[in-house]
């Protein structure tokens, strides 16, 4: 019984987060991902329209360009970026986040994101 419950718990915690793989697109001499980020520990968290907790200083996706590599990979507006290629994104400044996403020697970035709608969907299905 306890092992079944722990399995269930593992699945639930995985389901609240999503792994997204984006292939960078080369445009001229820039590698672009096709979305915009906002937030960071040096920013004002109260102005973030996507966060539930207004003291959350994480990195959020504020815009996704239609047809870009991010939209193709399944990234949505309002996602909170938790990790980029294994690097933690919850306690970084805005500039550090930008740098981690735009490394010139990487073609693919693997993001771990959390989505509010995902959590709510799971919660609704449980009720």
């Amino acid at each position: 019984m306890s092992s079944f419950l722990s399995q269930l718990h593992f699945q639930l915690s995985c389901a609240l987060q999503q792994r997204i793989e984006i292939c960078k697109l080369r445009q001229g001499e820039h590698l672009i991902l096709g979305f915009s980020i906002g937030g960071g520990i040096d920013q004002d968290p109260g102005q973030n329209p996507f966060s539930e907790d207004k003291s959350d200083k994480g990195i959020y996706v504020t815009r996704v360009t239609p047809g870009g590599p991010a939209e193709v990979a399944g990234l949505m507006m309002g996602d909170k970026v938790m990790q980029v290629n294994g690097w933690d994104m919850t306690m970084v400044t805005h500039d550090q986040a930008r740098k981690r996403l735009t490394k010139k020697n990487e073609d693919i970035v693997r993001l771990l994101v959390t989505r509010k709608s995902l959590e709510q969907a799971v919660r609704h299905s449980m009720m």
């Binding site: 672009i32 915009s36 980020i37 973030n48 815009r63 930008r98």
Partner: protein
């Protein structure tokens, strides 16, 4: 003597003409001074004459006193008959106090001090004059140094005289229950000084008929120097030491909880008491016993409805058990008296405000009836029939009539009518007219209860206060001391607390360090 129940002195005045009111006023004034003015129609126990708490007990109104007021007290409702005997007691004690003579003890201290001071001042002159009178021929002549000493002596004596007059020669403001320690100390010091100087003078100068006059003059000059130093000591001990604030006194009046905080310096308890009373007469709103308690109609409902019969043989501890049983029973019942209290308060407020509005309108209108006669008016008045020119008193009487009723009703609603007789209102109106005051300034006196000082009458007897204290009253103030100043029907409780020690640090701010940035919320596209 009509035997009616209590009535306010104004009740007849409202609907009658001015002339008959004058007669009635004179008669009523004789009657109503010692009468309680609380409104009739209350079911409450009549509170004893509040006027006595303002008028001093020894005041000079013996001729106004109504001698028959014992027969015209109201019916006393409520459970206790003790209130009547209380009234009798205070009535008797007040009569005793009224008949006591003017205290001569009040002037004993200053007179003694004055004599001592004069004696001390004339002593150096006596030292100088006596050898000249007694053995002038045998004295050695004394040249310029003596003259210098004469001049300095004269000036020092003049300074002593002027500063004594400035500092010490004022009528005493209070008699203290015990000796004023510092003052006694100083008087003893002065006396000892002067006595010892006289002693030495008698032994060394008068006896052997000393011939060195310069020495005698120097001796007198040294006495004057010593007196100057003693006066400096007196200045510091009596006047300066208590100016530095050291304690915070909280003064609370027991009857209605009015409280104030004061900062004082190092004083003895009795001196602090005098100081507190000085401030009391200025700061505290006047004590109005009519405003004190919840009406009995609210409280009495709790107690009624229970009859307790005791079946014990011995009824010694009957009362305590009975009252305890009643209190317990009353506590168990559902208590709605707060509701009644709330509504009664709201109703009272509303009534007060309504009456006040009527009063303000009436007074404003009354003031429009007169105006000051300017000197350049005769051109106007000579055309019409000459207007009657009045002095302030007549003008006040002329405009008093339309506002009298509103004023009387308002005073009765706010329970202030014992403090303001018609005569006093007229006098105040005359005063306001003379000084060009607006109706609002005229009403300032009646709208809020003023300090007790405003209602005092001038008399030489003074106010009697009793200082109640667990420590001897000449001891100095210190933390945690509590003493109280008692009057006949209320007292002031004074608590002493030291002022906190302040540690003040310093922080320097460079004026160039005030810089600001906008809060960030940037968005970067990647």
């Amino acid at each position: 003597m009509d035997n009616e129940s209590q009535y306010s002195g104004y009740s007849y005045k409202s609907s009658h003409s001015r002339s008959s009111r004058k007669h009635r006023d004179r008669r009523d004034r004789h009657r109503s001074k010692s009468r309680d003015g609380s409104s009739r129609g209350d079911k409450s126990v009549t509170i004893q004459a509040p006027g006595e708490s303002l008028l001093d007990a020894e005041s000079t109104r013996g001729d106004d006193r109504d001698d028959n007021w014992g027969e015209t007290t109201t019916v006393v409702t409520g459970t206790s008959e003790h209130s009547v005997s209380n009234e009798d007691l205070t009535r008797v004690s007040k009569e005793l106090e009224e008949s006591s003579p003017l205290e001569c003890k009040r002037f004993l201290g200053p007179v003694l001090g004055g004599c001592l001071g004069l004696f001390a001042l004339f002593t150096p002159l006596a030292f100088l004059v006596l050898p000249q009178l007694l053995w002038r021929e045998a004295l050695e002549p004394c040249g310029t140094p003596c003259e210098g000493l004469y001049v300095s002596l004269a000036f020092k004596l003049l300074v002593l005289l002027i500063s004594s007059w400035a500092l010490f020669l004022h009528p005493p403001r209070a008699t203290l229950p015990r000796f004023f320690v510092f003052r006694c100390l100083l008087m003893v010091l002065v006396f000892l000084f002067v006595a010892s100087y006289w002693l030495f003078y008698g032994v060394r100068v008068l006896e052997p008929r000393e011939r060195d006059y310069r020495g005698i003059v120097e001796y007198a000059a040294s006495l004057v120097d010593a007196l100057l130093f003693i006066q400096y000591l007196a200045l510091v001990l009596l006047e300066v030491r208590h100016l530095q604030p050291a304690f915070c006194l909280k003064v609370v009046r027991t009857t209605d909880g009015a409280s104030r905080f004061y900062n004082v310096g190092h004083l003895s308890i009795q001196r602090a008491a005098v100081w507190v009373l000085d401030q009391y007469y200025r700061d505290f709103p006047v004590y109005n016993p009519a405003l004190l308690n919840l009406p009995k109609s609210i409280l009495s409902k709790k107690m009624s409805g229970f009859k307790v019969y005791s079946l014990d043989e011995n009824s010694t501890n009957n009362s305590t058990s009975q009252s305890r049983a009643m209190i317990a029973a009353a506590a168990r019942r559902r208590d709605n008296s707060h509701n009644e209290y709330y509504y009664e308060e709201a109703e009272m407020d509303r009534r007060c405000r309504k009456r006040k509005a009527r009063l303000v309108v009436a007074v404003e209108e009354a003031f429009t009836h007169i105006k000051r006669l300017q000197d350049d008016d005769p051109a106007v008045s000579s055309h019409k029939h000459p207007r009657e020119v009045m002095d302030p008193r007549e003008a006040a009487q002329a405009i008093f009539a339309p506002m009298a009723r509103a004023m009387q009703k308002y005073l009765r609603t706010t329970r202030q009518q014992p403090y303001h007789s018609m005569e006093s209102i007229l006098t105040h109106l005359q005063f306001c007219i003379t000084h060009n005051m607006t109706p609002k300034a005229f009403l300032e006196r009646y709208v809020s209860p003023g300090p007790t000082m405003q209602y005092q009458r001038e008399n030489g007897r003074g106010r009697q206060w009793t200082l109640v204290s667990e420590e001897p009253v000449t001891s100095a103030l210190r933390q945690g001391l509590v003493f109280s100043l008692r009057r006949l029907d209320f007292s002031l409780v004074v608590t002493v607390q030291p002022l906190p020690f302040l540690r003040i640090g310093e922080e320097f701010i460079d004026p160039k360090s005030h810089k600001f940035v906008m809060r960030l919320q940037s968005e970067t596209s990647v």
